[in-house]
Symmetry: C2
Amino acid sequence: MLTPTQLCKCLGDDLRLSLVCLLHGQEEVCVCDLVDALEAPQSTVSRHLAQLRQCQLVVARRQGTWMHYRINPELPDWAQQTLASLVPPACQALSLTLPVSACCEN
Amino acid sequence: MLTPTQLCKCLGDDLRLSLVCLLHGQEEVCVCDLVDALEAPQSTVSRHLAQLRQCQLVVARRQGTWMHYRINPELPDWAQQTLASLVPPACQALSLTLPVSACCEN
DNA sequence: CTTTAATATCCGTATTTCCGAATATACGAA
DNA sequence: TTCGTATATTCGGAAATACGGATATTAAAG
């Protein structure tokens, strides 16, 4: 189960916080779009996504070869509220452009 | 200025999150009480407090040889809201007993 | 000035975290 | 099958972080 310390560890890294911000804005985003948006190596993005998955912060859905990620909709209330407080200022601080443009159909 | 990533880094450690929880409950707490409450070496507590101070998460007031810490009352709204969401579940997850009993007379 | 108490800082070591190229895996199409 | 695309995992090294005993600093008291 997700603890406050774990959540903060997850969010205490620019790249992971960026991922969470990008996902927070919309239903689902696929990995290739995240790689594009962050201009980071695919292995780096994938590794951080795995970490977020392990904490249950995000969930993944496979569709063919694509993986679609989204914020875990079953997050406890305190975690959802934390994200709600943190994401808007984080988007600004990290200069993220939302929403992510979709490169992969669907 | 405090960024969301920095705040999360600060809170992403059991001992620092415990400190923040203990402080969030009351006006001011002095270092000796924090050391008592956490049963951690004084140098460790002091080092983490320095880190929290550096991020402006807490402020200190000297009174004689004692130092009294409190949550920075001028924290931006998003940070205050984050603490409000995070502290209650953190207190529980970290099994913290509040309030801290005062060993040093004011 | 000396001593004592409270707190901060230093510093060497141990641990954790991060990185990204290389490689592996999963899947659809031919 | 075999190939190509999307994504995940591995792995060795670099960088950041945590630890706590020893020491320094600060201030009150004698």
